[in-house]
Amino acid sequence: MLEFDDIQYILLTRAPAITGRYEFLSFRNPGAGRAWLSAILETMHSVQQARASIEKDNRWVSVAFTWNGLRALGVDESSLASFPEEFKQGMVARAEILGDTGANHPDNWIGGLASSDLHAIVILFARDAQERQRCEAEHQRLVAQCEGVEVLSSLDLEATPPFEYAHDHFGYRDRMSQPVIEGAGEEPTPGTGAPLKAGEFILGYPDEDGPPANLPQPEILSRNGSYMAYRRLQEHVGKFREFLRQQGRTPEEQELIAAKLMGRWRSGAPLVLSPEKDDPALGADPQRNNDFNYKQMDPHGYAVPLGSHIRRMNPRDTAANMNRRRMIRRGGTYGPPLPEEAPEDGIERGIAAFIICASLIRQFEFAQNVWVNDRNFHELGNERDPVCGNQDGTLEFKIPKRPIRKKITGLPAFTTVRGGAYFFLPGLKALRYLAALGNAG
């Protein structure tokens, strides 16, 4: 039985928000950090609370810490040592493994995210901009009261219009393929696969391999917690559109190129089910838009190129042990949309996302290292993920086609990593435990 009253809402619930704000914090002394945590706890929702009042609530708050942040709150050394190595090292130290080199290197990150002073993130999702502003002001007052708590940076989220469905700045529909957790009360849509054991995402429960093992100590700290990899990914919309214009003579050809990079039409319609032309009704239908496989339906990649984004991020029936590699995604877009005919305006826009999993090394880092950035994924020889892989202009993208494939050389980078971090997302009891750490002594 999942402890819905202890698990932070963000793990299992998606807030009906069109805006939000992330604030990145540093604690100059443990007492200040714990005072801030005690106060912010009052605003936070468990899964149970969020579900009970999702219609009337206007804002949702989550809190997570880096390993340095746990130390800054006063967690003792033996407990700190019990966390997994990759979390202890942090995302900056794992840059090469993740493909964060060249333009994506942490030296180029912004907002203090590459600093060891980054201790915590507070994630706000709000129903509208007015509510966000109210919360922002409220949090400003709280931080001002906690001397020794510093806001390193912040990022405002804005959904991109049209608001009827979630999509990124490139125009791709999002949130179609999310794993479902056993016992969480959700029915998987066709093609999503059977519900997965909770331990794949939440610490303290059996996972797909058996009972929980090697959990951080003490148990109260790790139970109902999870890990989050944060990625701030700038999307170069002008460059992307220019690339489509270069590759396709007509708007139809350009749409097809965009679809081949992703593996879905921008409407969300999967190429496996609609290989020749877009089908927006299919894209919008959750009963159909994820219901496909690769091994039987598209083994050679004539519909979905072997190196396309969705084939890398979820190889479905063409990878082993898929149940051990799934991840929950949360987050949103930031920055203003670039109007369709406008040239690149130099304003940063993109996706600021969280990848939530029980093991960063087995789930998130594997996906980054092997699926996204292995040049030889599916024997492709010289490719990386065309959407979020590390592209330096020297790689290719091959589109299988009869009789002869199309090979795009010198693929540009459509995205740049502007920041990231590994966070631990504790359960609410664990947060109360952390907030009370100094009291006993």
Binding site: E96, A320, I361, D374, E379, N382, E396
Partner: protein, 190 residues
């Protein structure tokens, strides 16, 4: 065939001398579980050498029969490991029994470590490793401990050679399929 760079021309046999320790110090690539041993004309690989717990030798022969059966029953049971060849040897040094497990494969071991651990469990490969001195008892749930054992007992090559360098097993299989398809086509043209 994939677009392997020109210097990896399969038609030109190649040899590579490897520095002591197994790495080229100026171009060490970091994997999730540590530095990755370089790809050579003989692809990726490892040679694990470890001492057998005295008295456990018969288990190895029983294991060999089991693996033979497992692969016959499900020929793709080791596919995830992207192998070319595996060799298992037993030998003596000063009266002690040692085991060698040598693999040649197409992906650095670090990438698919967890898949390998799962295969070890599924195919009973663990039944030999558990008879080696120092093998971690909690290997099934502790991938880092498993990989540490593998790294601690890996004897890196100081020289590797490939008659058809850098070619993957998948490419070889594709070439043979193509040959068979052409042969079939010629039959159909008679």
């Amino acid at each position: 065939m994939s677009d392997t760079p020109k210097q990896n021309d399969w038609s030109k046999p190649a040899a590579m001398a490897i520095p002591e320790g197994g790495y080229f110090k100026d171009k060490i690539e970091q994997g999730r579980y540590g530095p990755i041993f370089p790809k050579t004309p003989a692809c990726y690989g490892f040679s694990i050498i470890a001492k057998i717990i005295p008295g456990r030798e018969p288990n190895f022969y029983e294991y060999a029969r089991n693996i033979e059966k497992a692969v016959a029953g499900q020929p793709d049971c080791l596919a995830v490991l992207k192998l070319h060849y595996l060799r298992w040897n037993l030998f003596k040094i000063k009266g002690d029994n040692y085991f060698q497990y040598m693999g040649i494969f197409d992906t650095d071991f670090d990438k698919y470590t967890e898949d390998a651990v799962a295969i070890f469990a599924a195919t009973g490969l663990n039944t030999v490793f558990e008879n080696l001195e120092g093998f971690p008892k909690d290997w099934k749930t502790n991938a880092p401990a498993f990989i540490k054992f593998v790294r601690d007992h890996h004897c890196p090559s100081f020289l590797e050679y490939g008659e058809y360098p850098y070619v993957s097993a998948e490419e070889i299989k594709k070439a043979l399929k193509l040959k068979a398809a052409f042969s079939d086509m010629l039959d159909q043209m008679q």
